[in-house]
Symmetry: C2
Subunit: 114 residues, 2 copies
DNA sequence: ATAGATCGCTACTCTTTTCGTAGCAAGCGG
DNA sequence: CCGCTTGCTACGAAAAGAGTAGCGATCTAT
């Protein structure tokens, strides 16, 4: 994000992530969606648009403060947008969700093992 | 996590996540890997085992306190284990990483657009 | 039109999480 | 034995989040 560096480093596994070498896409992404409720929000917007209050109810213990902060961040990142019918995913957001979606099944299998 | 509830609800997109209905696998997972550095740690352990200090260096600004906390959590979750050659992913951890891996490519495309 | 409910969101205080640094016990090399 | 790295804990400061209250705008029913 405008860090001035000419090249974006390839963020393969094993490459340093977050911190020392900032600006790597995977780092930026982890920093964005690795915050409280961020993934929960994406998950809840996946199937349909939601109002602020609805989203709040679905993210039970999320205070309106954080919820609004996350929504701002996700909107700034171009993943979420505000529409006439509430908040919804952008095309980018939908693409990201597609990548995230298998986590649902993985989590279920994992929970059985736990 | 031992919430005593008899049934684990199906965590499809659109279902309430985190909070009101606790105990859903996807919620537990989001709560676990949606904390600072958690995904960064998994990412850095993906290709090889790492020592504590090495991991710390790769997660630049992560303090040893948080790093150790995350490692404990991830170990308790059965995703990370401590070996003779440092920390590494368990089989479960590797499976999770496989699901997470496409995020790397997605993040690169996304960064170009940003 | 008007009273009431609901909406998106901000303000504010209190608690939890994370940061950042210092440092200790244990292992290893020379 | 001495210096060096390693895993990890302690602790105070800063940042993030929770929880509650409530304001102006809109929607709903009468």
């Amino acid at each position: 994000m405008a860090d001035g560096s000419s090249r974006i480093k390839i963020p393969r596994p094993g490459e340093p992530v977050q911190g020392s070498q900032t600006g790597q896409p995977i780092m930026v992404l982890f920093d964005l969606i690795g915050r409280r409720w961020a993934m929960g929000i994406l998950w809840n917007l996946a199937d349909q648009n939601r109002t602020f209050r609805d989203l709040q109810a679905r993210c039970g213990s999320a205070s309106p403060t954080v919820l609004n902060t996350r929504l701002k961040e996700l909107r700034a990142a171009g993943l979420v947008e505000k529409t006439a019918t509430g908040y919804g995913l952008t095309n980018d957001g939908r693409k990201l969700f597609k990548v995230l979606e298998p986590l649902g099944n993985w989590a279920m299998d994992w929970a059985k093992r736990l």
